[in-house]
């Protein structure tokens, strides 16, 4: 992992979309073809002796808390949850790799890493794809590349993305311009939590739009180049704020830290805004919390995580109370380890 960018980059993700050549794509999916898709994947993994590294999650055998828990960890997508009958996923035990089955495409192979680690993530999924390809045939055309259910993914089938924490660019109202500039470069930037002008937690995902005609390396390079530019802009603004208005900046950070540490009830939306200030404070070296811990907290304090921890699907006020208990526990721990 490239720890040097950790102050802005929360995580990196790469996914490949692949379809079995002879099976109908998702619009024409039948119970039988879906089963066939799962079976082939299982056989290919077994043939590679990799099956034991993965856990199989079938959507139709899970309750909502379990499903959303995995989605909050970005190990499965909300689209997979909607495929509640046929959707399933192999998740590697280290939670760095997931292979979703019967989502929009037969396979969505995904690697996820903390911080900026796109190149390693890419190598990881190439290895998995190579292993699977020894046993199966994916739909491919020499002109159009890998064929996908939606033509927007054809070609490499690759989506490379960085999750960025951009509180100062957001406060400076620059995200509108950033959006337009990024679009011209064939990339797309969107809020992770909630659409609209303000992304909750000031978290954004930047990824490639086009998948055909550019190699995987070119796609990754484009995302990294624009990512680096945004990192520079965000850092400059953070430095400016901390130098020009130290009291205002620190007040914002410590207020949020205090609320996170001592509150007794907090809705998710409010949590995300304080979490953003917490992460900002850590990046400025003002808080006794590690970046790892803050990023783990981001997942741990979300609804499905809190429910799973509570052991029952609590809702409303009870959920917000349990969330606070979880946050307090997290921040009071020495070294903030998990």
């Amino acid at each position: 992992m490239n720890t040097s960018k950790r102050d802005v980059v929360v995580s990196s993700r790469i996914r490949l979309a692949r379809n079995y050549e002879d099976l109908p794509f998702s619009p024409g999916e039948t119970a039988r073809s879906a089963e066939s898709c799962s079976q082939r994947t299982l056989e290919a993994l077994s043939a590679e002796n990799a099956q034991a590294d993965y856990i199989l999650y079938r959507m139709n055998e899970m309750d909502d808390v379990e499903r959303y828990y995995l989605a909050e960890k970005h190990l499965i997508s909300f689209d997979l949850i909607r495929k509640s009958e046929t959707g399933s996923a192999y998740i590697r035990k280290d939670e760095q790799v997931s292979i979703m089955m019967n989502e929009e495409d037969h396979l969505r192979i995904q690697a996820i890493a903390a911080g900026e680690d796109l190149s390693n993530s890419a190598l990881m999924i190439y290895r998995i794809e190579d292993a699977l390809q020894k046993h199966v045939r994916f739909a491919f055309d020499t002109k159009l590349g890998y064929l996908t259910a939606c033509p927007t993914n054809a070609g490499t089938g690759m989506r490379a993305s960085l999750m960025l924490h951009l509180p100062m660019l957001t406060a400076d109202k620059q995200m509108g311009i950033v959006n337009q500039t990024v679009a011209k470069l064939g990339l797309i930037i969107r809020g992770i939590y909630g659409e609209g002008s303000e992304a909750l937690g000031h978290l954004y995902q930047i990824s490639n739009q086009a998948t055909l005609g550019r190699t995987e390396e070119e796609i990754i390079r484009a995302v990294l180049t624009v990512g680096d530019k945004l990192i520079d802009m965000e850092r400059a603004l953070r430095l400016k704020a901390h130098t020009m208005e130290p009291v205002k900046t620190e007040d914002q950070i410590f207020r949020s830290y205090g609320l996170l540490k001592y509150s007794r009830s907090m809705p998710q939306k409010e949590f995300l805004s304080h979490w953003s200030n917490l992460r900002l404070g850590i990046s400025l070296g003002r808080l006794p919390v590690t970046m790892d811990s803050a990023d783990i907290l981001l997942e741990d304090a979300q609804d499905a995580h809190v429910m799973k921890w509570a052991g029952s699907p609590v809702t409303g006020d009870r959920l917000d109370e349990r969330r606070c208990a979880r946050i307090r526990r997290h921040l009071s721990r020495r070294n903030n380890g998990r």
């Binding site: 379809n19 050549e21 002879d22 099976l23 109908p24 794509f25 998702s26 619009p27 024409g28 929009e104 190439y126 794809e129 190579d130 390809q133 020894k134 045939r137 994916f138 739909a139 491919f140 055309d141 020499t142 002109k143 159009l144 590349g145 890998y146 064929l147 259910a149 939606c150 033509p151 927007t152 054809a154 070609g155 490499t156 690759m158 064939g186 739009q209 086009a210 998948t211 055909l212 005609g213 550019r214 190699t215 995987e216 070119e218």
Partner: protein, 164 residues
């Protein structure tokens, strides 16, 4: 082919139109083409419109006749959902898909990773072309012993894939 305007005379002129980024073609006989030209010159917008509009409709009908030979998906079904039914759809909808793919990706030729089968094929082709170069060089240098080895290796390689 008969003129698409009067449907009587033999069409001799192919008119290509790009309307709203859609490329359509219409066949005219010289007589009708002349009328069309005159309507343009005289500013008879109605005749001109009618002729062009019919060309557009034809183009639309053309597109709707597309249907996948494997899964049966129609082009209209695809347009409604933007999802294709199977790998064959890409071939059977090749024409109408072209502008869509170009609009999304700004490119139309895949570059990047290819499946194993193609990769092996690629490696074999690379090996063959390298051997051919070496063979040429050996012959040029009158190094016939090496040339014989390369020739045998080439024979072996080209045999595998059913000849190149």
């Amino acid at each position: 082919m008969l003129c698409e305007e009067c449907k009587k005379n033999e069409a001799t002129i192919l008119l290509s139109l790009v309307i709203n980024g859609q490329n359509t073609q219409k066949h005219f006989c010289s007589e009708c083409m002349e009328k069309l030209k005159m309507s343009f010159v005289k500013g008879d917008i109605q005749t001109l419109h009618a002729a062009l509009f019919s060309a557009l409709i034809t183009a639309k009908e053309e597109k709707e006749k597309y249907q996948c030979t494997r899964c049966g998906m129609t082009y209209k079904q695809f347009k409604d959902t933007m999802k294709l039914g199977c790998a064959q759809c890409y071939q059977d909808f090749e024409e109408p898909l072209k502008p869509i793919l170009l609009r999304i990706h700004v490119n139309s030729q895949h570059r990047g990773r290819v499946p194993f089968m193609s990769r092996e094929e690629q490696e074999r082709m690379d090996a063959i072309s390298a051997l051919r170069n070496r063979l040429d060089e050996a012959v040029r240098d009158e190094n016939f012993e090496d040339a014989a080895v390369y020739r045998d290796q080439l024979k072996e390689l080209t045999k595998e894939g059913g000849g190149v």
